[in-house]
């Protein structure tokens, strides 16, 4: 966290609130996004991710709180802001008979500064589909077009709302590669997702949100390290041993047994494994099998919210 202090804040969200009737979509959300990072908003459906991103895009007005994006107020200076950001919607619908290159050229024409349509077609693998009607594109192609459209004004900040939802794993990996390219180009990216893998793999920092509130914020590594989850150890032993004896081993937080296997949560794991080996030797027991599993963001999420993320 400390090393990020000197970075430029590109997006600042402070104490954001937004209600739809009685439903509080966002309640008191605060976070900053620094220039050049890929920032993830991770949370289950209905967590308030889309509302938040749409407020940042200037599409919705917050009830209260302050939002600054690229030094602008999205609610008041939305036209100026739209020149500088690129966004992709959860689902992008274009007229059926609009061709790929027409769409890119049309939207490129709306901005004062625009990227080369030819380059975008190449970069997003759409060159061969340039004359294809929108209605004839596959789901992955539509999504690539949506991402290309987000880049059409060569934006400093790219906002992606669930960029891979509904895509199969292969297509998802294609999209990941594109987002990683954004990072390589020095763009700042805000993406919302409810896929743990996506957040862990793509994001420099992740904000976990649930029911409109910030649950945790940090790099994936920090989040896992600071969680009380510990590393999971699964072991099989030559002869059974009482759980109470395992529980007292250094670093062991929790211990369970099921179907002849022992499940331990340990922190730090290295200390526990050394102590475990010593204990088994002294007890004349032997380690038949050992699996070590680092905790995931999912585990962090479950710990923070008491619920599992829906897939």
């Amino acid at each position: 966290m400390t090393q990020t202090m000197e970075k430029t804040v590109l997006v600042s969200v402070q104490n954001l609130h937004k209600h739809y009737g009685d439903l509080a979509a966002v309640s008191g959300l605060s976070f900053d996004i620094f220039q050049g990072e890929v920032f993830g908003l991770l949370g289950p459906n209905g967590a308030g991710k889309t509302t938040t991103i749409e407020i940042i895009e200037g599409l919705r007005q917050p009830d209260s709180g302050s939002v600054r994006v690229c030094g602008l107020d999205p609610a008041q200076e939305s036209m100026a802001l739209k020149e500088r950001i690129g966004a992709q919607l959860q689902s992008t619908v274009l007229p059926d008979k609009m061709r790929v290159d027409e769409a890119l050229r049309l939207f490129a024409g709306f901005y004062r500064h625009s990227a080369s349509v030819e380059t975008l077609l190449e970069q997003f693998g759409l060159a061969e589909k340039r004359h294809t009607f929108f209605e004839k594109l596959s789901g992955g192609q539509k999504q690539r077009l949506a991402l290309a459209l987000a880049l059409v004004n060569n934006p400093e900040l790219v906002l992606l709302d669930e960029p891979t939802v509904g895509l199969d794993p292969q297509l998802r990996r294609d999209i990941y590669a594109l987002i990683e390219r954004f990072r390589g180009e020095g763009r700042t990216v805000l993406l919302t997702t409810h896929y743990i893998e996506e957040a862990e793999r793509l994001c420099d920092r992740v904000a976990i949100v649930d029911r409109g509130q910030l649950v945790a914020l940090g790099t994936p590594r920090e989040l896992i390290a600071h969680s009380g989850q510990g590393t999971r150890l699964e072991l099989r032993l030559a002869k059974p041993v009482g759980l109470e004896r395992l529980r007292v081993i250094d670093g062991v937080i929790d211990c369970r047994e099921a179907e002849g296997a022992y499940f331990l949560r340990a922190q730090p794991p290295a200390v526990t494994i050394a102590a475990l080996v010593r204990f088994l030797e002294s007890d004349d027991n032997a380690l038949l099998d050992l699996h070590i599993a680092r905790p995931s963001l999912e585990d962090v999420f479950v710990e923070m919210t008491g619920r599992r993320m829906e897939h």
Partner: protein, 610 residues
Amino acid sequence: MATLRIALLTVRLVMRTKVALFFTFLFPLVFLFAYAGLIAHGKPEVVAYMFGPVVTLNIMGSGFFGLGIQSVMQRERGSLRRYRLAPLGPRTMLLSNLLANYLLQLPTLGLLLLCAVVIFHMPMKIGWATLLILVTVGTFAFAGFGLTIASVANTMQEAQVYNNIVWFALLFLSGVTFPLPMLPRSIQRLAMFFPSTYLVSTFQSTTAQAEPLLKHWPEMLVLVISGFFGLLFAMKLFRWEKEERISTRAKLWSGVFVLPFLVMGVWMNTRANPTAAWSRSYNAISQDSAAGPGSQAEKPNPIAAPAATAQVPNAPAGRFHHSGVYDETRKEFLVYGGFIWDQGTQGTQRVGDVWGWDGNRWQLVADTGVRKIVAPLAFDSKRERTLMFGGSADSGSIDGKLRSLEAGTWRVVKDAPYLAREDASLTYDSKRGRLVLFGGRNDEVLFADTWEYDGSDWKPTFAAGPSLRSAGAAVYDSARSVSVLYGGFRPLAALGDTWEWNGEQWKLVSESGPGPRSWPGLAYDSRRKRTVLFGGEDDKGHFYSDTWAWDGKAWTSIATEGPPARIQFAMAYDSLRDRIVVFGGVNNHPQRILSDLWEFDGTRWTQKQP
């Protein structure tokens, strides 16, 4: 710039969609062919008259369905959302839709025009600039309509419901489907509140009658204002997302959109002769200057000529739609009733005075208080009385009363409500002592029946004869003992036939001669034993000033010089002085109510007054 880009792309997208192509280009042609073929029977002048309704229908369709429904569909599909991410405002989106709608209108108009001119030989009376202005204003106004509906509707279903209600009302009650003069009076009154009426009637005045567009500036102004209102509404209520709804309160605000139509409707309804313009163009394609069914009598409202010709002192005021007869007892040519021009109201007004012309001067015979137009006169030589039948009184009421001129007024001799009509043909068969009544009309209904009055009651004859018509001219040929009927008026027909009634049957005796004529003058010259025809209007709207004679065998042109061309005048033969007398009527180019009096001595016409 963005507006133009989106508009051009929208046009291209339409070109790629078969259904849209069909409705944009082919569908209007279907209507043109239906209207021009089925209604106009391919007659070029009538096609010109129907051209306005076809274009209006197309403009309405694109406003309501092209623009209105498309706007709602864009919102419902979610394709507006992508535009929202770009630095574009509602104004850009609306204007681009408006522009695309307009751009799509132009080739359609071109196609319609091409077909109308090439296939149906439609005369191009309307100027290019006028046509373009009309289409532009119309497209703008109905775009406003479509956009207002799109703004007010929260869902597609809602938009469809609103659209259908408004669409069908405009379609059937405003001259788009049925010519305005053919509609019942109550619906005509209602039609004055509808924007499609303004567009259709202006189209018809300019295409069928070559009237200047400037004459219809109030209609154009209202259309432009409503277009702006629609656009303002659409901007105010613009929604990018289908989830965004508008309140009932905001919906009610859209009522402001109809304000210009309300103002215009009230204004038109309170005008002296609100349907005059409709009738003018209708008549231009129908027989002659008379209006079509419904407002025929009001047609030649010479708005351009409050200048009825100069009033002659001690003479009847210039008039038209009056009636004339030679009173053998008084030895005077009598004229009765008709429309005069009232300087005060700047409109026409019915009068009930009877004047007599003895060859030297006029004398007021009676101011009867019975004010009528198109009430034919006949002289009953047996009972020595002047009779008048039916006609249209103030407020357009029509009766079936036979009246006799007695003691300075019209006494009702026989009331036959079942015969109520105006502009019928009436002769007195002096040999058999009977009045012969043929045709005429009551509101929209034209007649082709023949009745005889024997002094006590009307008797139907059940004889087959001339087709439905009003405004035919008839006289009794005492030498051959037949009533002679020539021409007349029926919408979209050209009547130039000569018929004779001998008391038992009608006989078509000629189909050649002067050609189609409505409101000609007919008089029987008993000295030369011939029926003389003067003036009238043909089915192309041309007025005549020629004189013809019918001897029972053939028509012969006997004079080409004479009184200025006219219709709806009074004409009779003064047997004492051997003169045919013509008084009043209207002429066109310029339209003018006439007060001149002419006499024909059998070879030459002489103007006696003023």
